[in-house]
């Protein structure tokens, strides 16, 4: 099946890759011979997969994630594993145990995260396409910061089998590329039902983008253009939305009142899920190995203290706390009610509009080391987490620059309206290119 070989020796000046396959096998199919990079939290048979964590250094998965298997069947050449924030926890890729990735647009800045390596590999022309994962914006943020296209599909559209879980109820694997057509081609290959992931729907994606936005109604939530959003970024995005109006779309102002709870609901939920998911990393079945002479708990603690970075330990502890007796009702239960409110707000708005648009990120890419305080880093996810809480599709497409750094236009759609989201992004891209 994989009878050919692609030579891949990139000049990785951005530290985008954690592992490189110098001779990448490929076969026949829709993506035959195309170099595709895969984020390092997606299992690849025979290729080291670490989630950018010391605790998984040396781990060689014995099986492929479903999305990777589909890539191989489509003839793609898997050329390497990309850097990320450890286990996907971060917005800059600085939380990698193997050093930060640099932004190809300005190497003094972060590429965004957590799929920063995938974004830099695409933006730096090392690969044509890459897989990322998006739990609270981890595809769209680096796409916006590096000036490429990235999409979080509807929850359930792409199998999570073989994705090393961080927050199952929020995360999706999705495509990243330099243009909407390539994002669409990659989604065609990876979407569909998988019997190994019971949350997948039988909704294959067979669409080819068409430049169709005429007559569509776009909601513009006031929260996406208000406090906390750099007015220069908001201005660039408003201009882009003006282009969509010129193409025949109509816009209407709307509001997502639950936005005031959304970020807290997101961080409580993902930390709680992480505290459970990451319990499996004890160094016994994979990883550095535990000292078998010590007691279970002692050896477990030693391995985890040495193997996990500060942000991972912080989220595991926060989640453990939020789920602990006496606090569950205050944090986890309330977060789930807040999440329902976010869903209800989107449902209400989508009964009146076809799409929702706004900035992907409230600012341009940060300087390396700029966000040293965890809470200020969390706050920068405010515009991306609502789509994950609601499970709806969302894309980021480059729409201009502020201080020579790219800005992303975010377009969100109804559940399983991935096609329409892609068409709107395509219409914009075709109009400006």
């Amino acid at each position: 099946m994989e009878s050919h070989e692609l030579t891949f020796e990139p000049d990785d000046r951005y530290n985008a890759f954690l592992a490189v396959c110098k001779k990448a096998p490929y076969g026949k199919g829709k993506l035959s011979g195309i170099a595709v990079a895969v984020k390092d939290n997606i299992s690849t048979r025979g290729i080291e997969t670490t989630c950018a964590s010391k605790i998984l250094k040396g781990y060689i998965p014995p099986y492929d994630a479903h999305a990777v298997e589909l890539l191989r069947h489509a003839g793609a050449a898997i050329v390497g594993k990309t850097n990320m924030d450890e286990f996907g926890m971060g917005t800059t890729t600085e939380n990698s145990a193997f050093g930060p990735t640099l932004n190809p647009c300005d190497t003094g800045r972060v590429p965004g995260g957590s799929s920063g390596g995938s974004a830099a590999a695409v933006a730096g022309n090392m690969v044509r396409m890459a897989l990322g994962t998006d739990t609270g914006g981890s595809i769209r943020c680096p796409a916006a910061f590096c000036g490429i296209v990235g999409m979080k599909p509807t929850y359930g559209r792409v199998s999570r089998y073989g994705l090393i879980a961080y927050a199952n109820s929020l995360e999706q694997i999705g495509p990243m590329a330099r243009n909407v057509s390539d994002v669409s081609s990659l989604l065609q290959v990876i979407a569909g039902k998988d019997r190994h992931d019971s949350t997948t729907y039988d909704r294959p994606y067979t669409h080819t983008p068409v430049s169709g936005i005429k007559g569509l109604k776009i909601g513009l939530p006031q929260e996406y253009f208000g406090e906390g959003v750099d007015p220069r970024v908001a201005g660039v995005v408003k201009n882009a939305i003006g282009r969509l109006e010129e193409l025949g779309a109509t816009t209407v102002s709307c509001s997502i009142p639950s936005m005031k709870f959304a970020l807290a609901a997101y961080y409580v939920t993902c930390a709680c899920e992480a505290s459970s998911n990451l319990a499996r990393f004890d160094g016994v079945r994979y990883g550095p190995g535990a000292d078998s002479k010590k007691s279970w708990h002692e050896s477990f603690k030693e391995v985890r203290r040495a193997g996990f970075g500060a942000e991972v330990r912080r989220r595991i502890m926060l989640g453990t706390f939020a789920l602990s007796s006496g606090y569950y009702g205050k944090y986890y239960a309330k977060a789930q009610v807040a999440r329902e409110n976010v869903k209800a707000d989107f449902a209400r708005i989508f009964s009146e509009v076809d799409l929702i648009a706004g900035p992907t990120m409230p600012s341009i890419a940060f300087k390396l080391g700029e966000k040293s305080d965890p809470l200020s880093m969390y706050l920068s996810d405010i515009l991306t987490v609502p789509a994950n809480l609601a499970g709806i599709p969302a894309i980021s497409v480059p729409c201009g620059k502020v201080d020579t750094m790219p800005v992303g236009l975010q377009i969100m759609g109804r559940h399983f309206d991935d096609e329409r989201v892609i068409d709107a992004a395509y219409a914009y891209e075709q109009a400006v290119n």
């Binding site: 709870f261 000292d291 010590k294 203290r305 595991i316 939020a322 205050k330 944090y331 809470l375």
Partner: protein, 89 residues
């Protein structure tokens, strides 16, 4: 408001391992983050809407699994074809 003692207790529950030198920073950060989470107190209601969701069930059928050597190859310590774990008792 959580104290250093609370953080130590949480670290114990999570088997995360914490150095005394880190306690001050973690406690300080937790309090900033938990203060922010207090916005959830403004959310009305305690229970989520129940939805008409159906579980995806299947028969428990035995299927081929990975060969033993494949499964063992990532374990740092093994003995007689088993993964060796720290002592439990």
């Amino acid at each position: 408001m959580v104290t250093e003692k609370d953080v130590e207790h949480i670290a114990e529950l999570a088997d995360i391992g914490i150095n005394t030198g880190e306690l001050d920073t973690f406690t300080h950060q937790f309090n900033a983050i938990l203060d922010y989470f207090d916005v959830l107190d403004l959310v009305n209601g305690d229970t989520t809407i129940s939805r008409d969701l159906i579980n995806t069930m299947r028969e428990d059928v035995v299927e081929p699994s990975l060969p033993r050597e494949e499964v063992l190859k990532n374990a740092a310590a093994q003995e007689d074809g088993f993964i060796k774990a720290p002592r439990v008792m």
